[in-house]
Each structure stands twice: as C-alpha cells, then as structure tokens.
C-alpha cells in the first residue's frame, strides 16, 4: 500500500510527541552512534525531509524508546516506516543491498557455507537443511513470488 509520510505520522502518533527526550535517553544505539531519536521525531513532525539522514540506519529497533514514551508514540515503528521512505528515495546502504540480493536469490538471509555444511554433517544433521533454499522447484516459486515485489526493484536499481 503506498503510504505517504503524512499517513505514517498519524498512524504512529508522532504528532503527540512533546519532545521530553525520554526516547533519546533510553536509546541503546545513541550511546554509540549519532542517532538522536527526539531530534528525528521533531524533524519529521516539522515536515522536514530526513530521507538522507544516515543516523536513521543506526537504530537497532530494540523498541526501548517506544516502550518508555509517556505519550504512546510508536517511535520504533515510525523509524522503520521512515526508513521505507528513505529507501524509496534511493538511500540504500550497499551492504544491505548485498544481503537483500542474496535473500531474493537464495531465499535465505544467511546462506549456508561449506564450513557449516561440514559442521551439520559432523553433528548428525542432514548436510542440506530441509528448506526452500535446497529445493530447486520451491526456490523457483520463491523467485517468481519476489520478482514482482518492490524490494526486487530496489535491489536491481542499487
């Protein structure tokens, strides 16, 4: 569903934010990164374009800010949806694109390696896991499914 940022604002109650800063104080990532949740919410609320803000991608989505927000703003859910707008606008960290392409191709976010196949065999598991990635027909169906999705377009465009 093509949501606009305005709808996102409403859906996640960003307009209720009183700028108390509890989110920034609770932020796991903010102690090691430049992510300042309160500032981010303020900018979005003020209608500013944050799509190229790299700090958006420092959020670990731990949900602590959302849990502690006294106004019930769905901060983490909003950050995830703001990232959607950012990715649509072409801000796509290349390391993530590599992971996405791998997932779309293999059906696994973390594809198996020869070393792990050896460990599987050593501890008595079938070398190939029972999954879509190791069933050629199922994998083809998966590729067909994802080829029509927006994320495939993003992976192609880079």
């Amino acid at each position: 569903m093509n949501r606009t940022l305005g709808q996102e604002l409403k859906e996640f109650d960003l307009t209720k934010c009183v700028q108390c800063g509890k989110c920034t104080a609770s932020c796991t990532s903010g102690r090691d990164s430049n992510l300042r949740t309160r500032r981010l919410v303020f900018l979005v609320k003020s209608g500013r374009d944050v799509s190229s803000d790299k700090d958006l991608w420092a959020c670990t989505t731990c949900y602590t800010c959302q849990e502690r927000c006294p106004k019930g703003v769905k901060v983490t859910d909003a950050i995830i949806r703001i990232r959607n707008s950012s990715a649509r606008a072409g801000n796509r960290p290349s390391i993530h694109l590599t992971a996405i392409r791998s997932l779309l191709e293999s059906s696994d976010g973390f594809p198996i390696t020869p070393d792990v196949s050896k460990i599987r065999s050593m501890i008595g598991l079938p070398i190939a896991p029972v999954d879509v990635a190791h069933d050629e027909a199922e994998r083809e169906r998966f590729r067909k499914l994802v080829s029509a999705l927006a994320i495939s377009g993003m992976a192609k465009e880079g």
Partner: protein, 294 residues
C-alpha cells in the same frame, strides 16, 4: 495442532548446533512436529526497513506454508518471531493487506488464510516446567547471565509482556538447577538488530562491548540467549572485541539439552567460537555424579 519448527536462517546455516539441540529437546518434550519448507522469515531489520509490503508478502508465504500442513509455527529466534508474529498480527488488523498479499501469493498458487498461530518456544517451554523438571538428569548449577534480547518481549503493546522485569527465563533457568545472575544492562539489546550488525560494525560492537563487560563482571559461567541472531552477535562478536571476555554462549535449547544429560558433542555445543569446554566439563562431572547416585 502440531508445530512446524521455524529454525530460521542462522540456526540452519550458521549455528546448526542450535537446530540440533532444538530437535532433540522438542523430541524429548514430546512436541508433535511436522516438516515444512520455509524461506528466510524475512529478516525484519533489513527487509522491513526497506519495504514493508515486500516484508509482509514473504512472511505471509511462510505463514501460508505452515497452514497448508495444518500446523502452528514455533520459532526459536526473536528475529523470526518479530517478523512472523508481527506480520500475522498486522494482517489480522488490516484486511486490505490480506487482499494485497493474496494477490501476490496467488501467482505461485498459495494463499494466506490466518489459520496458523505463531509461538515463541520460550512460552511453550515455560508452560511445560513440570515435564522439564522431571527430565532434568544433571543439575549443572551454572551461574547464568540471561539475555532476553528485544523482540520476544517488545513491543509490549502487542506482546502484552512485562518488558521491564520479565520472569519466564528466570523460572526456566531455576527449574534446570541453575542460577540467574543480575547485571546492569541485562535487558538491553545485543547490538545486532535493525540492520546495524551488517550496516555499522562500530555501533554494533560498541553496544555489545558494554553489555559483555557487565556480563563478565557478574561472574556468570555463561550467557544464555533465546535467539540465534543474538547468539551470533554474542559468540562471534565477542571474538571481534578488543577485550577478550571468553564467556561461553548457550541458546536455551542447548542448556536444556545439557541438563537432560545429552552430551555437548551430540548437541554440537563444542562448535561455537567461544570455547564451551568449561561448561562441558561441568556437565560431564554432573553426569557422573548423577550416575553414581543412581
């Protein structure tokens, strides 16, 4: 309804000892399991951050695959739970999204009908404590630093869980004859989620370093997780930190397996990056003591 085990990419493809331990423990507990072929959940940190609808469709494909076999999904990973449960919940509230995912799924002859539930294995284990207690053959007596991770507990508006003082893992650890040790940052994130593990190593390891220091200072024999992604971060991540903490890392199903008297090499616990030798030695001694008593 039987369960379809959703092991997730990391348990299958990076930490197969977690998949093996899970299979053995679930068999011991008599859970009825059916085999279903799944894809990546898909990973919430990256995929949902890029395109919510694509994330929803791939998740619905996995939910629909379990429905076809008449099974509920049981996850052993907070990330998979975060995706599958959240997608299931979102679809239950947004009929327009059900129409959208079913349009996509129809291209490959599948459909989502909201028939299967998604459960986190911790809730199943927590509901079976008397059975667990009766199967504990060796009391390891370990001091355990519990790491809940994020997406089993949060967001609480949906999970309904007590996120500031959860108790399930403390109960389970106690039932296994181990002791939960407290430490600052116990409930904080491991630093891997949200695409940060792959996207920003400095931030990811900075978060982990702080947590590991407190875990080390707590005197814990091991750190316990309920998620292969946290496990990956805690085990491999420790090796990438400047300080060498060398605190062994166990997924809950591995600790349960050891407590049920299954050898570490059968579970595959010896394949971790951080040595689990001290845990294995304690388990061996406890097994011998238990046998001598019997």
């Amino acid at each position: 309804m039987p369960y379809a085990l959703f092991p997730g990419c990391i348990a299958r493809n990076m930490y197969p000892s977690i998949e093996k331990s899970t299979q053995m423990v679930f068999r011991e507990l008599g859970l009825e399991l059916v085999e279903v072929k799944f894809t990546c959940c898909p990973a919430p940190g990256v995929i949902r951050s890029y395109d919510f609808d694509s994330w929803l469709v791939i998740a619905a494909r996995n939910l629909a695959a379990a429905e076809e076999k008449g099974a509920d999904l049981i996850t052993i990973c907070n990330g998979c739970y975060g995706t599958l449960e959240a997608a299931h919940r979102h679809l239950s509230k947004h009929p327009e999204c059900v129409v959208m995912v079913n349009e996509r799924l129809s291209a490959i002859g599948m459909s989502y009908r909201s028939k299967s539930k998604v459960v986190h294995f911790v809730d199943v284990v927590d509901s079976m404590l008397p059975q667990i207690a009766s199967k504990v053959k060796v009391e390891l007596g370990l001091k355990v630093a519990i790491h809940y991770g994020c997406h089993y507990l949060k967001p609480s508006c949906e999970s309904g869980r007590n996120v500031e003082s959860p108790e399930a893992l403390e109960r389970i650890v106690g039932t296994l004859g181990c002791e939960s040790v407290d430490f600052p940052e116990k409930l904080s994130c491991c630093g891997a989620g949200g695409g940060v593990w792959s996207g920003d190593e400095k931030v990811s390891l900075g978060i982990l370093a702080r947590k590991m220091r407190f875990i080390k200072e707590s005197g814990a024999d091991c750190v316990l997780d309920i998620c292969p992604f946290c496990h990956l971060q805690l085990d491999q991540g420790q090796k990438r930190l400047k300080n060498r903490y060398e605190v062994p890392v166990l997924h809950l199903n591995q600790l349960i397996g050891l407590s049920f008297g299954i050898k570490d090499k059968v579970l595959g616990v010896h394949t971790h990056m951080v040595s689990t030798r001290d845990i294995a030695k304690k388990a061996k001694r406890a097994r011998k003591d238990a046998e001598a008593e019997a």
